[in-house]
């Protein structure tokens, strides 16, 4: 099939990112963050937390009346947890959006190429072998999860690249399915051999921000910022890719290289996020699709807004996880799916009626 240059494909219609959409996204981030800071199982008083936060700003001196422990709750427990939620949510949602573009598959999520299974495998090995002692300050579980995730994606790419007659997208996705199944099987085998660690593995798989501190933020931030920057930089080309590999190639896009760069950035960022937060499901599917349904189909619009709404969504979900059964917590992965799925259905129905 030869491309027909005169007719511009729909994805290439100029769609601009309205300034007020960004303001809306930033507002969601601000609102979720504020709620995450002032609310929690420890009743510190909304007003006093706000004064305490103002006191933290440079050149301002206020007395919030919070005791030392309560200040520690605000600055060392809630604030890093909110920041981590923003980073992980933005990364997972945006990686999901990028995968959906690069694979032209609406069901693609950040775990498509085996990141989740690889991370689960790595974390399980670290937990089961009790590698916790001797490495010093660095917790080996996230490191092993990160390594496992990268291993799985690399394996998927190697297997997928030798796909023969299949088209490269199908070949990669199928390779991802095979690699994920394989790593899941190995993980299950390892964890069955050491049954007393099953619960620890289970909680990794469900995802958590509960033990988050500034250390995790410092570990994760560079990966998130770099990977988000790469994905945002290629968002225009993702629109071009939407017309198909051959057509995009005819339009001058280096399809293979562009796909590799996007997949590497999304996978690396996802692996880093998963390493510190465990496997938080569904964010990478519903956030980009919700943004798409509300704000339009161009990746130039979708991806920047997905960064913002992904972060806001995960912080809000984490707040729900902390509050619903307080002072007990529920795994955040349960909240993202339980709240996300019905919300998404509403958006989907609204969009169908509108069209």
């Amino acid at each position: 099939m030869t491309p027909t240059p005169p007719r511009e494909p729909p994805g290439l219609r100029p769609v601009s990112l309205h300034g007020w959409w960004l303001v809306f996204g930033l507002g969601a981030v601000g609102l979720a963050s504020m709620a995450g800071l002032v609310l929690g199982p420890a009743d510190l008083g909304v007003g006093r937390v706000l004064v305490e936060l103002a006191d933290g700003l440079p050149f301002l001196e206020f007395n919030s009346g919070l005791g030392e422990r309560q200040q520690a709750i605000v600055w060392e427990i809630r604030l890093p947890r909110v920041v981590l939620g923003l980073l992980v949510g933005a990364m997972l949602a945006t990686a999901g959006g990028a995968y959906q573009g690069v694979f032209r598959n609406p069901l693609a999520d950040p775990y498509l190429l085996g990141v989740a299974a690889g991370a689960g495998f790595g974390a399980t090995v670290a937990i089961v072998t009790g590698a916790g002692d001797g490495i010093g300050v660095l917790d080996p579980v996230p490191l092993a999860a990160f390594a496992g995730a990268l291993l799985a994606v690399a394996l998927t790419y190697l297997v997928g690249a030798t796909g023969g007659r299949l088209d490269p997208v199908t070949s990669l996705v199928l390779a991802g399915v095979a690699v994920a199944s394989f790593f899941t099987a190995v993980q299950t085998f390892v964890q069955q051999r050491e049954s007393e660690t099953i619960r620890q593995v289970y909680f990794f798989v469900l995802g958590q921000l509960r033990t988050a501190g500034w250390d995790e933020v410092v570990l994760l931030a560079p990966y998130t910022v770099a990977c988000l920057a790469v994905i945002l930089a290629v968002r225009r080309r993702l629109d071009v890719l939407g017309v198909g590999d051959e057509e995009a190639g005819a339009l001058g896009l280096e399809v293979r290289r562009m796909r590799l760069v996007t997949v590497v950035a999304a996978s690396l960022g996802t692996a880093a996020a998963v390493a510190v937060s465990g496997l938080i499901g569904f964010v990478g599917i519903i956030v980009p699709h919700t943004v798409r349904l509300i704000f339009g189909t161009s990746y130039r619009v979708i991806l920047p807004l997905t960064v913002l709404f992904g972060g806001a969504f995960l912080v809000a979900a984490d707040l729900v996880a902390r509050l619903v059964l307080q002072p007990a917590e529920i795994p955040i992965g349960v909240v993202t799916a339980f709240l996300g799925a019905p919300f998404f259905v509403v958006i989907l129905r609204g969009a169908r009626r509108a069209s």
Binding site: I77, E196, G213, L325, E329
Partner: protein
């Protein structure tokens, strides 16, 4: 709380056999234990010589015939290969009792004790099955006397505690067997408001623990690398009273999770740690 009290540990009522799946007609000579607690009880009542195999988690006493049998994922064939006339387990994943019954092997299911009365019952039940009933009664009397002595010390009077099961802040309330043991020392538990459903093992959030500011932190997960140092390093925990006063106390994971005769040793260690810190 009557549950943690001192129910008659010697009475025959305990032998009514509510947990017995089949009557133990004769004295068992080849016992397989898939429960670390049952293993400890069997050896405590002097039935150790009748035990031919214990599961991979039964690490006490030292002389127990440890095998690679699993109590979590028991394999009927592997168990049967020891030719047992009695199998004791704390957990049936679905077909253990039925599978052994099909092979003509009697199984005693002794689940985790909810109160100390359950411990007394299980000791007597094992004494009955192994022909060591007099020894079983003596073991129960020893447990009872030990608990009474510890309870009278009032070592933990007025202090609050948080018992950490794992580093995702799973803990126990005062209603579980373990919580009742801590209660005997006069300690009060910070997690009770977190467990409206009464399950007994809620998960807390870090800020709740920091805010509750317990006087004592017991680390049931010290065997997995947690220590006073790692706890002090956690975000926000440095401001806690227990961290300031260095009252982070590692406890033996096995002893704090079992309900056999070693509850006395466990409580004695906890008490010594509290009193050692008190000075």
């Amino acid at each position: 709380m009557t549950g943690c009290g001192f129910d008659d540990p010697t009475g025959p009522a305990a032998l009514s056999g509510a947990m017995t799946t089949a009557p133990v007609a004769t004295v068992a000579q080849r016992v397989v234990s898939l429960s670390p607690t049952a293993t400890e009880i069997l050896f405590a009542i002097g039935a150790g010589k009748q035990v031919v195999a214990v599961d991979d988690q039964s690490n006490h006493p030292a002389g127990a015939p440890v095998t690679d049998l699993s109590g979590y994922t028991p394999n009927v064939e592997a168990i049967a290969s020891y030719d047992p006339d009695l199998v004791v387990a704390s957990y049936d994943p679905g077909d253990l009792v039925a599978g052994l019954e099909a092979l003509g092997v009697v199984t005693l299911l002794q689940p985790a004790a909810a109160t100390i009365a359950d411990t007394y019952d299980q000791v007597l039940e094992l004494g009955d099955a192994t022909g060591r009933i007099a020894e079983a009664v003596r073991v129960n009397q020893r447990i009872q006397a030990g608990l009474a002595e510890i309870a009278s010390s009032g070592a933990g009077g007025g202090l609050t505690y948080y018992h950490e099961v794992d580093n995702t802040f799973f803990t126990t309330t005062s209603s579980t067997f373990l919580g009742q043991l801590y209660g005997l020392l006069g300690l009060s538990n910070i997690a009770d408001p977190a467990d409206e459903a009464g399950f007994g093992w809620p998960q807390l959030s870090a800020e709740f623990i920091v805010d509750a500011d317990p006087d004592l932190v017991f680390l049931g997960n010290a065997a997995w690398g947690e220590s006073a140092e790692t706890v002090a390093d956690r975000p926000g925990w440095g401001a806690m009273t227990a961290v300031r006063n260095r009252r982070i106390i590692p406890v033996d994971t096995d002893m704090s999770g079992r309900w056999g005769p070693r509850v006395i040793e466990f409580l004695a260690e906890v008490r010594a740690a509290i009193e050692g810190h008190a000075g």
